[in-house]
Symmetry: C2
Subunit: 134 residues, 2 copies
């Protein structure tokens, strides 16, 4: 079921400062910041060839990464996203196995315009896993 | 400088239990556990097509992931590893930029038989970054 790693998301308190570190210190190529108000984040993508790194900064008052940054003020690895061929089949299989889906369990349209789901980190060794339809 | 994402490492308290979750719940393909006493971990690799996930369980009394698991008892994302074409050139560039290299700053032979370095997470938004020679 588990397909390619679509991205690793890193939450940061200051996207401009984090972008400068990745651009200047690590010599990475970054996209321009994209505000995604419906997801409560501003995002910068780093293409590392075989996958992407996403730097996330909170946007708005109800950002889903605000609590994480309150616990980890300098930032940290927030989630990993895997591609799956059929997100509804994946969701149903996971529920059968007893895994918990966050929210109402229905796929939402994610930052790449494709349906996504998040799995409860307590069911996956403290790792927040996003699944994205291929 | 920053090349492909070689792997994402996830520290887990119980490798057998975590392997069962990835194999049965997530339908992933895993290698057999490999004990790496010189690195203080037992490791299972998950090939997700474009990169690898490494599940790490502490091995021995001085495991480098013991402190992380003491803080995160159910486990969590521990580090990301990027490939670089020339690890000594990368190290020197990073030091010039003021980034801190963990340990004595000299590359060590990592789990894949190639030279590796770890960068101080405080210099990279709370993310522990491993660099591995391509």
């Amino acid at each position: 079921m588990l397909g390619r790693l679509n991205h690793v998301a890193i939450a940061v308190p200051d996207l401009a400062a984090a972008s400068a570190i990745y651009r200047n210190t690590l010599g990475a190529k970054l996209t321009e910041p994209q505000m995604l108000p419906e997801h409560g984040v501003t995002v910068v993508f780093i293409d590392v060839g075989n996958t992407k790194i996403e730097l996330l900064e909170p946007l708005g008052v109800d950002s889903p990464i605000a609590a994480f940054l309150a616990k980890n003020p300098s930032g940290g690895m927030h989630h990993v996203c895997y591609e799956v061929p059929d997100i509804v089949a994946a969701r149903d299989r996971l529920k059968e196995q007893g895994a918990r889906i966050l929210g109402d369990g229905e796929p939402k349209i994610g930052a790449h315009g494709k349906p996504v789901l998040f799995l409860h980190p307590k069911d996956f060794n403290g790792t927040l896993i996003e699944l994205e339809q291929e």
